[in-house]
């Protein structure tokens, strides 16, 4: 769909209940898999479109990903290069033994002026990279950073949408020169020749500038990783990690991968691929499974329409939210020490055996089965009807949640669902997040 602009292609669009924090949570959980969350000593959240201008999102992501509280969290932004900046900091921390494992989560849903080329060109995505520990799929051979003060892509503190200046100036003068320089320097530092680079990820602010560096650098054209701008869009700070994951999926042990990320300067890193890459498969998740998104709905999702439905004036209390974080954010339940029932309400007395205050806090499974459901046609939402599902969680406990990323007709009693962290409403003048559920689906190609 091209929304009245020349050319075709597709782009990834975050659903109405997603933002860069919820996508970072999903990416973090997919990246961690079965790994023990308590061994993460650092979490970096990277975004140019954080849902709060003042308030840490890394701490929110750490809580929702259930990483505990004994870790260092940091928020990064400012330029498209912020993701690799955080990655380099994480590598330093692991090298310095101040962190056993560091998790870098980059996510963006950048806003473009309605009707602009950028609007079609941007894509929404989140990605996570785990640094440190055993079984690495790649190791860093060399890294170089160049800083460059220049105005090519920006958004002031009063602008909602991203602006870009002159396209030719941006690509040739701002992006290509600086990136080429950094790439040369890092190859020299790694002691390798451009021809020895098996895969090259070169991110550019317009999504298509990689050729302007690859050719003069002398890279094998086949080594250059296609950023998939025409199908995914330009993914902001998540771009280098999404492209790196794609490169790793087809890499062989011993390959050298060049990652160059531009944004007010350039970070260039050379990786050597390790044996573990043979088992590497990036976890992919897409929010919207089915029908193409119409432009009006897109504008509603992006809150670009003055009246776009959805709940208004819902009651919310920052104090209550803080008190209930164990269940509503960390997704912990309380198992009764007497009768073993897993309670998912913040109760002090077990409703089954009346035992008072004798519970063990337990991690609830993020998967379950629909016991019963309904579809609410009168509850205000941008995507009616609201499916409300009663879920029997694997391993015990019951939870009531909205179902998202779903077509009404596919909901059935007995269907398998996974819990997913999403935004619920803006009551109280802040973002109210919650755990929704969605059908378990095959990963998209």
């Amino acid at each position: 769909m091209a929304w009245g602009r020349p050319g075709g292609g597709e782009r990834a669009v975050a659903s109405y209940d997603e933002d860069s924090a919820t996508m970072a949570v999903s990416a973090a959980l997919a990246c961690l898999g079965a790994r023990h969350a308590r061994e993460i000593d650092e979490l970096h959240f990277v975004s140019l479109s954080p849902p709060y201008a003042e308030k840490s999102l890394s701490s929110l992501v750490a809580a929702a990903a259930d990483l505990g509280t004994g870790l260092r969290t940091g928020d990064h932004g400012g330029s498209l290069r912020a993701g690799t900046g955080a990655l380099l900091s994480a590598l330093d921390a692991v090298k310095a033994l101040t962190s056993r494992h560091s998790l870098v989560c980059a996510a963006d849903c950048r806003q473009a002026p309605p009707g602009s080329m950028l609007e079609m060109g941007f894509g929404d995505a989140g990605a996570a990279v785990l640094v440190g520990g055993e079984g690495a799929v790649a190791e860093v051979l060399a890294a170089v950073s160049h800083s460059q003060e220049i105005l090519d892509t920006w958004r002031t503190d009063e602008q909602r949408t991203v602006r870009t200046g002159d396209a030719r100036f941006n690509r040739v003068e701002a992006f290509a020169k600086c990136t080429l320089e950094a790439c040369k320097a890092v190859l020299e530092k790694a002691g390798i020749d451009a021809k020895q680079v098996a895969k090259a990820v070169i991110t550019s602010p317009d999504g298509k500038g990689h050729g302007a560096v690859a050719k003069p650098l002398g890279l094998d054209p086949k080594a250059v990783v296609d950023p998939k701008t025409d199908s995914l869009g330009m993914l902001g700070t998540a771009q280098p990690f999404v492209s790196l994951a794609m490169a790793l999926e087809t890499a062989n042990p011993g390959d050298r991968i060049l990652l160059a990320c531009y944004g007010d300067g350039c970070d260039a890193i050379v990786f050597e691929v390790k044996e573990a890459v043979k088992h590497f498969k990036a976890q992919r998740r897409l929010a919207s499974p089915s029908a193409p998104l119409g432009y009006v709905k897109f504008l509603a999702y992006k809150k670009m329409l003055a009246e776009c439905g959805g709940e208004s004036n819902a009651f919310a209390s920052q104090i209550q939210a803080s008190r209930e974080a164990p269940i509503s954010l960390r997704f912990h339940g309380k198992r009764c020490q007497s009768c073993g029932t897993i309670n998912t309400l913040s109760l002090r007395v077990c409703p089954h055996c009346q035992t008072r205050d004798r519970f063990d806090e337990v991690h609830l499974a993020r998967k379950g089965t629909v016991n019963t459901y309904t579809q609410e046609h009168y509850f205000p939402t941008p995507e009616p009807p609201v499916t409300m599902a009663v879920i029997d969680l694997d391993g015990g406990g019951r939870y009531l949640a909205q179902m998202t990323d779903v077509e009404a007709a596919e909901v059935k009693v007995g269907m398998k669902v996974e819990m997913i962290f999403r935004r619920l409403h803006e009551g109280g003048g802040f973002h109210n997040y919650c755990w929704k559920c969605r059908p378990v689906r095959e990963a998209p190609k």
Binding site: F315, L345, V390, G396
Partner: protein, 394 residues
């Protein structure tokens, strides 16, 4: 201790259950209590204690937060008046507390009055808005009242093969009954096709399977049975009563042991009421029931909870016509909440008004011949609280 035959209803009154645009909260209280007082031959000064049932002052007109709203409207002062709020079982609870007072001997003539004024606001500004804007910021967010009752229909359909059409048949039946009730909001028959094709509210419940937003008030005046003849020779007697809170507002949806195919509160309350009244086979012994059909699914589950049929056979019961006028056990001859609407605090007392008129033989075209025993049932919250009252003819 059974309450059987110890309490008499000596006066009953009920306003139009409709969009009473010309009446305010106080006007409706004056009308319902006026009819009841007149029947009992009493004036407001004779009432020695009163219970005022209003469930949702915040969704309505900010009236009914206290018994003082009854005192001011009826000009009854210097007596104890308690405001009762217990979701949709509010009316039944007001009645229950008034009866307890009589049995304690603290008062000799008492009033239970329910009133709710919802239609000074647009329907979606009252009860729907309450769910959207108030309540817990996360838990149950996305539900309206319809949804909390729809999930029981979904599960019942899954476990017993009940069809959405069974719910439709309940709506058809109750709307047909309402044609004979001059106090009902809607007195027009509907076809099954109309019910099924009316706009979806909360799947599988359509608009015509859902009660409308309504204003209304109902009032009962009671005394101990031995005093009844002094006031009204045509009184009716309390035969049994049960009331139970069996889960919570949130708990059903978060409790792994909860199943969605019955309302335990109704089972508990009805068993107590049957025991009081000596009823062992309700389907045969009761002449009629008024049950809480706020949504058609609730009437269907309630058939089973009250023991009118076996578990899972609610659909069959309505299909056979057993609960229709002239059937074996007619249910909601008034038209039920689906046709009368549901001014929450008033509904339970409106049902008792209906049963009273039936037992007096004064139910007009709705009259069940030789009615001797009738049951009124409410359920409140997500099926958490239930009131079951059995009245009998003298």
């Amino acid at each position: 201790m059974s309450m059987k035959d110890k309490i008499a209803v000596i006066g009953a009154g009920c306003t139009m259950f409709s969009e009473n645009f010309g009446l305010d909260y106080s006007d409706m209280m004056v009308e319902s209590s006026g009819e009841a007082l007149e029947e009992a031959g009493l004036s407001g000064r004779d009432i020695q204690a009163a219970w005022l049932g209003t469930a949702f002052p915040d969704a309505g007109v900010w009236k009914g937060r206290s018994g003082m709203d009854l005192a001011q409207s009826l000009g009854i002062f210097d007596i104890p008046i308690t405001r009762v709020s217990n979701y949709c079982a509010t009316g039944g609870d007001a009645f229950r507390n008034a009866c307890y007072c009589l049995l304690s001997g603290e008062a000799d003539v008492v009033m239970a009055l329910g009133v709710e004024k919802l239609r000074d606001r647009a329907p979606q500004e009252s009860l729907v808005k309450m769910m959207v804007e108030n309540g817990h910021p996360i838990m149950q967010k996305g539900f309206t009242a319809a949804g909390t009752f729809a999930v029981t229909a979904t599960r019942h359909m899954h476990e017993y093969g009940t069809k959405a059409e069974h719910l439709g048949q309940i709506s058809v039946k109750n709307h047909k009954h309402a044609v004979n009730n001059p106090k009902a909001q809607y007195r027009t028959e509907v076809t099954l096709d109309q019910v099924m094709k009316s706009p979806m509210v909360a799947w599988p419940l359509t608009v015509l399977m859902s009660c409308p937003t309504t204003d209304g008030s109902a009032c009962l005046i009671m005394c101990r049975a031995e005093d009844a003849k002094k006031y009204n020779k045509d009184h009716v007697l309390l035969k049994g009563h049960g009331f139970s809170v069996s889960t919570g507002w949130d708990l059903p949806f978060y409790d792994p042991r909860h199943h969605f195919t019955s309302y335990r509160a109704t089972e508990v309350a009805s068993r107590k009421a049957y025991k009081d009244a000596g009823v062992t086979d309700p389907r045969k012994e009761l002449d009629m029931c008024e049950v809480h059909d706020c949504f058609a699914s609730v009437e269907l589950l309630t058939y089973e909870d009250l023991g009118l049929c076996k578990r899972g056979e609610g659909g069959k019961l309505v299909e056979e016509g057993a609960t229709a006028a002239g059937g074996e056990i007619p249910v909601n001859l008034s038209g039920g909440l689906l046709s009368c609407g549901h001014p929450v605090g008033a509904t339970g007392l409106r049902m008792l008004y209906e049963i009273t008129r039936q037992l007096q033989g004064k139910a007009g075209k709705r009259q069940v011949p030789d009615a001797r025993l009738g049951l009124a049932h409410n359920i409140g919250g997500p099926g958490a609280v239930s009131s079951v009252t059995i009245l009998g003819a003298r």
